[in-house]
Every structure is written in structure tokens, then in C-alpha cells.
């Protein structure tokens, strides 16, 4: 036990575990994160792809390869901080609150991050005014009343504003609010952010049986062994990509009334959607408190160190 204690209070272990974490973090940036395991098996040579998936490197920050060094770092940090505090108290020395606050703050940040990793909830809704309301947790609904996009003279976005109404379960109106980028709507235990915009292009297709079907950008249908992907509307024409095997996709541009596969294009429409992200993150408050402790600790450590250096 004593050996273990000595190991965990060692500065060399602290430096080692910090550097291991740094190196692992950097390695993770060399591999795209969070994709389907099949992607890694296809993209990399088989043994490397299998190794990436087996070690969890494709979702590194949720894998034991990251959590174990993190745990080691947290234990090392706790033991070092406690041993420093008690050591100074035993010797009757004044506490160095700066470094202790930094260490305590980092532990609180790690705790907050763990809570976020387990309990954070996020969903993005793409809505246009008049669309059916989106369901939020707790039985509330979110309806987009209006949406405005201001642009600079060169066409770049200047401001996006969504006016939304939130209704509680049973239809009671909680309120209607504007949401801007960097100015989220704060509801109890939930925030709604203006995160993106999207254009929804729709092509209306008439089938051989006389039935109408709508296809949105990114959707596809099969025809004679090929896949026909609706890539959107450009200059009033529908753009379809025909993909077959490993050949480069062939692009087809169609005006209304022209044929694509077994269908005839009978209509095109386009509309702007507002991307609203609802987030519930019980880990943010502890993480923010931890960051505030780190900031206070850094300030205090700096002042104390400056005092020490004075003759």
C-alpha cells in the first residue's frame, strides 16, 4: 500500500501520465473519429483497420485506451494534491492555495466531463416556419414561428434569427423567443442553440403507376442496378448523380417534365430550414465550476509565486 502511495504521489508519474495523455490525444487526431467500424476496415489495410477498431481508436475518447490513462492521471492528481496539503499542514507551513485550487479544479472538470459523457442529451431539428412542432424532453414542444437570415453585401451570413414558441405538455404556451447564434434560448435544464441553416430541395416525381413521390436532397432510388441520388437544385434544374459500381458518378441535369429512371420530374421546390440544437448537459455546471477554480488557482499561484520571488 505504501509503495502504491509513493508511486502515485510521484512527480515523475505525473509528468509521465500527462505526456502519455498528450501523445494519445495527438494520435487520435490522425484518425477520423466516430465513423462506422466498416469505414476503417475499408479505408485502411486490413490489419491496421482491425487494430484501430479493436483498440477503440475510432471512438478514442470513449475507449478504455483514453479512460484508463485519464483515471491514472486523476488518481495521481488527487494523491499528489492531498499529500502536498497534508505535508505542509504537518510541517506547520502555510498552504499554497494556488496549485491546490488548480488541482481541485481539474478534478472537478474531470468529474463534470464524466457526467457530460454519460448524461448529455443533444438533438438538432431542422425546421421551417409552419412545420409541425419538434418534441423536446419533458413533454415540451418547439415550434418555429419565423426565421430571418441577414447577409453582408458580399453574400456571407451576418445574422440568423429564429423566433420560436415553446409549449408545455397540455398546450400551455411557455413563451416565444428569438434565438441567435451565440445567444441560446435558456429553458429549465435545457438550452436551444441556433447552430446551422440548411436548404431543403425537393423534387416531385411521377411514377409509372401514376403515383407522386417527393424526394429530398441526399435521398436516392435504384434503377437498373444503378443508384440515382438527388443532389439538389441548381439554376432551376434538378441535379441527379448516377452511381454504379466503382465508376465516377455521372451527373444528370433535368428540367421539369423530363424523365429520370422510371420517373418523370413534375415539380421542384426549395426552402430554407433553421437548424436548432437542443442540449441538456448536467455536466456543464460542474465543469464550468472546475474551470473557474482552475482560473482562480492560476491567478493565486501567480501572485504567490511573485511574492516568493520578491527579495
Amino acid at each position: 500500500m505504501r509503495t502504491l502511495y509513493r508511486l502515485f504521489k510521484s512527480v515523475k508519474l505525473a509528468v509521465g501520465s500527462i505526456l502519455i495523455l498528450a501523445v494519445l490525444c495527438l494520435l487520435s487526431t490522425l484518425i477520423p473519429q466516430g465513423l462506422d467500424p466498416a469505414h476503417y476496415l475499408n479505408r485502411y489495410p486490413q490489419p491496421l483497420g482491425r487494430l484501430i477498431v479493436a483498440l477503440g481508436f475510432h471512438d478514442f475518447f470513449r475507449s478504455p485506451g483514453f479512460s484508463i490513462p485519464c483515471l491514472l492521471f486523476a488518481v495521481n492528481l488527487s494523491v499528489c494534491a492531498a499529500s502536498r496539503c497534508f505535508g505542509r499542514l504537518r510541517r506547520g507551513l502555510r498552504l499554497r492555495l494556488g496549485p491546490d485550487l488548480i488541482h481541485a479544479g481539474l478534478l472537478v472538470v474531470i468529474a463534470g466531463a464524466l457526467v457530460s459523457a454519460r448524461l448529455r442529451w443533444e438533438r438538432t431539428f431542422f425546421l421551417a416556419p409552419g412545420d409541425p412542432p419538434a418534441e423536446l424532453p419533458g413533454g415540451c414542444t418547439l415550434r418555429l414561428l419565423d426565421y430571418r437570415q441577414d447577409r453582408y453585401p458580399d453574400g456571407r451570413p451576418k445574422e440568423w434569427v429564429s423566433i420560436v414558441s415553446v409549449q408545455a405538455r397540455g398546450g400551455t404556451l411557455i413563451g416565444s423567443y428569438p434565438i441567435r447564434v451565440n445567444h441560446p434560448l435558456r429553458l429549465p435544464r435545457l438550452k436551444i442553440h441556433q447552430t446551422s441553416i440548411q436548404r431543403e430541395d425537393t423534387a416531385l416525381l411521377l411514377g409509372p403507376d401514376g403515383g407522386l413521390s417527393a424526394i429530398h436532397r441526399g435521398q436516392y432510388f435504384e434503377w437498373r442496378g444503378a443508384i440515382l441520388v438527388f443532389a439538389g437544385i441548381e439554376n432551376g434544374e434538378a441535379v441527379f448523380e448516377r452511381r454504379q459500381g466503382r465508376a465516377r458518378p455521372a451527373v444528370h441535369r433535368l428540367s421539369v417534365s423530363q424523365r429520370i429512371g422510371a420517373y418523370r420530374l413534375v415539380g421542384l421546390s426549395s426552402r430554407e430550414l433553421s437548424g436548432l440544437t437542443a442540449v441538456r448537459d448536467p455536466g456543464f455546471i460542474p465543469a464550468a465550476a472546475g474551470l473557474a477554480l482552475v482560473a482562480a488557482g492560476l491567478g493565486l499561484a501567480f501572485v504567490q509565486k511573485k511574492g516568493d520571488d520578491r527579495p
Binding site: V11, S28, S116, P157, R180, H193, A288, A295
Partner: protein, 269 residues
């Protein structure tokens, strides 16, 4: 005179002043007089003032602090680094060696050279919605202020690694620690704390493991390891100096490499 021409004149003046400062330092170093020359820090201060004036002038034009693209960030970084070098010369001249000042000035000139290259377009563009946040201003400005001190730490650590003189090594080690000791809290506050607060406000996620965030964290971890390595007698000295050099290399990659090589939320140009 159009405001764009004014900032071009100020930028060119800053480049010229830095070149004059560098030339004066080189002449003094070649004469092997030892100690710091009595002149070169004045053009250095004037260059810092000119670069910060470019930032102010562009900020007035776009009605927002001008630190929202690569060019503006580089100009601010170079101005802050020149100011930090001048402050070291003024306040900590007992620690500052002429070679550290020379290396620091070369780094500032290199930053300006990159700013004037095609990889950093200099159009005057007001920020897109996500960048219109004062948390972003705190995030960027404090990060670059911290990294300006890291430049001094980097150059003095490099010199430590090649120096054979024990007295000189002690002085360089002290300078590296002082510079990083001041830069580290600024970098922590700017890159990690205000960055997290801004990300939470803009996207609802204070940490996304985006490549830039991950590299900034790795940079911070390396500097944290540096500060702790000084507490272990066996690591103090050479290992600390290597960590200081590695930390600055990581900081540079976080700024340049990630923007151009690793796609993510921060891949703006």
C-alpha cells in the same frame, strides 16, 4: 488615404522596424560585445505599436475586434510577441540574453512573413455569426498573449540545449521558467477556459474533441508537464528544456497545421 492603405503602410512600417531591430542586434552580436545592445528594443516597441494599430484600425472598420481570421490573428500575434519581447528587455533585462532577443525577433518577423503570404488572405471581412462573440475575442487574444511568452520560453530553451556555459544555462533556465510561468495562465484562460465557454454558448458543447481543441489540450499538457518537470531534480534542466521546445512546436502546429491539414470546427482560413 483609404483605411486599407493605412493598415498596409502600418504593416510595412512594422516589418521595416523589425528588420532594423534585427539588423542592430545582429551587428551587436557580431561585434561580440556581450550583453544587450542599447538601441534595438526601441524599433521593436515601435513595431509592436504599429501592428497593434493595424488591429485597432481593422477593428474600427469591421466594428468588431479584428482577430477573426488567420491574417488578423497573425498580425495580433506578431504585435503581442514584439510587445512581450520589448517588456522582457525593459523589465527582465538581467535575465534576457541578446541571443534570446534575436531569436524572438526572428520569430516575430517569420510570423509577419506568413501574414503577408497568400495563405493568409487580408480581405477586410466582418465576422460570420458564430464568430460574433466577445468570448471569442477573449479566447483568441489571451491565447496569443500566452503564446507570445512561449516564444521567449522556446528560444531560451533552445539556447539552453546548445549552451555549454553553466552560468548561462542557469540564466536561460530561469528565463524559460519565468516566460512560461507568465504565459501558461494566459494560455490556459484563453485557449481552454474561454474557448470552452465560447463553444458552450455557440454550439452547446464545451468540448467536442475537434482536432484544434485536442491539439490545444496537448500543448497545454506539455507545458503542464514542463512546469511539473522542474519539481523533479532529475527532469529539471535538459528534459524541461525539451518540453518547452516541444510545447511551442505543438502550439505552432495547433495554429497553422490544424487549420490546413486536419479538418474540423476550427478549420477557418
Amino acid at each position: 488615404m483609404t483605411p486599407l492603405a493605412l493598415s498596409q503602410i502600418l504593416g510595412s512600417a512594422a516589418f521595416g522596424l523589425l528588420a532594423v531591430s534585427l539588423a542592430a542586434q545582429a551587428v551587436f552580436l557580431l561585434r561580440r560585445r556581450g550583453g544587450l545592445d542599447p538601441f534595438s528594443h526601441y524599433p521593436l516597441a515601435a513595431a509592436a505599436a504599429a501592428l497593434l494599430a493595424v488591429t485597432v484600425e481593422r477593428s474600427i472598420r469591421i466594428r468588431f475586434p479584428a482577430v477573426t481570421n488567420t491574417f488578423e490573428s497573425l498580425v495580433f500575434f506578431a504585435g503581442a510577441a514584439a510587445l512581450v519581447l520589448f517588456l522582457h528587455r525593459w523589465i527582465a533585462r538581467r535575465l534576457l540574453s541578446p541571443w534570446v532577443q534575436f531569436g524572438g525577433t526572428v520569430t516575430v518577423l517569420a510570423l509577419l512573413a506568413v501574414a503577408s503570404s497568400p495563405i493568409a488572405p487580408r480581405e477586410l471581412l466582418p465576422p460570420v455569426p458564430a464568430l460574433q462573440s466577445y468570448w471569442l475575442v477573449l479566447h483568441v487574444s489571451l491565447t496569443f498573449l500566452g503564446e507570445s511568452f512561449f516564444i521567449v520560453g522556446f528560444v531560451s530553451a533552445l539556447l539552453y540545449l546548445v549552451s555549454k556555459n553553466e552560468a548561462e544555462k542557469t540564466r536561460l533556465e530561469r528565463l524559460t521558467y519565468t516566460a512560461i510561468g507568465i504565459g501558461y495562465p494566459m494560455f490556459t484562460a484563453g485557449a481552454l477556459i474561454f474557448g470552452a465557454v465560447w463553444a458552450q454558448t455557440a454550439w452547446g458543447s464545451y468540448w467536442s474533441w475537434d482536432p484544434k481543441e485536442t491539439w490545444a489540450l496537448a500543448t497545454w499538457l506539455v507545458y503542464t508537464a514542463f512546469l511539473h518537470s522542474r519539481l523533479a531534480p532529475r527532469l529539471r534542466g535538459r528534459v524541461s528544456a525539451i518540453l518547452s521546445v516541444a510545447g511551442f512546436v505543438f502550439a505552432l502546429f495547433t495554429f497553422f497545421g490544424v487549420n490546413y491539414l486536419l479538418p474540423g470546427l476550427h478549420s477557418y482560413r
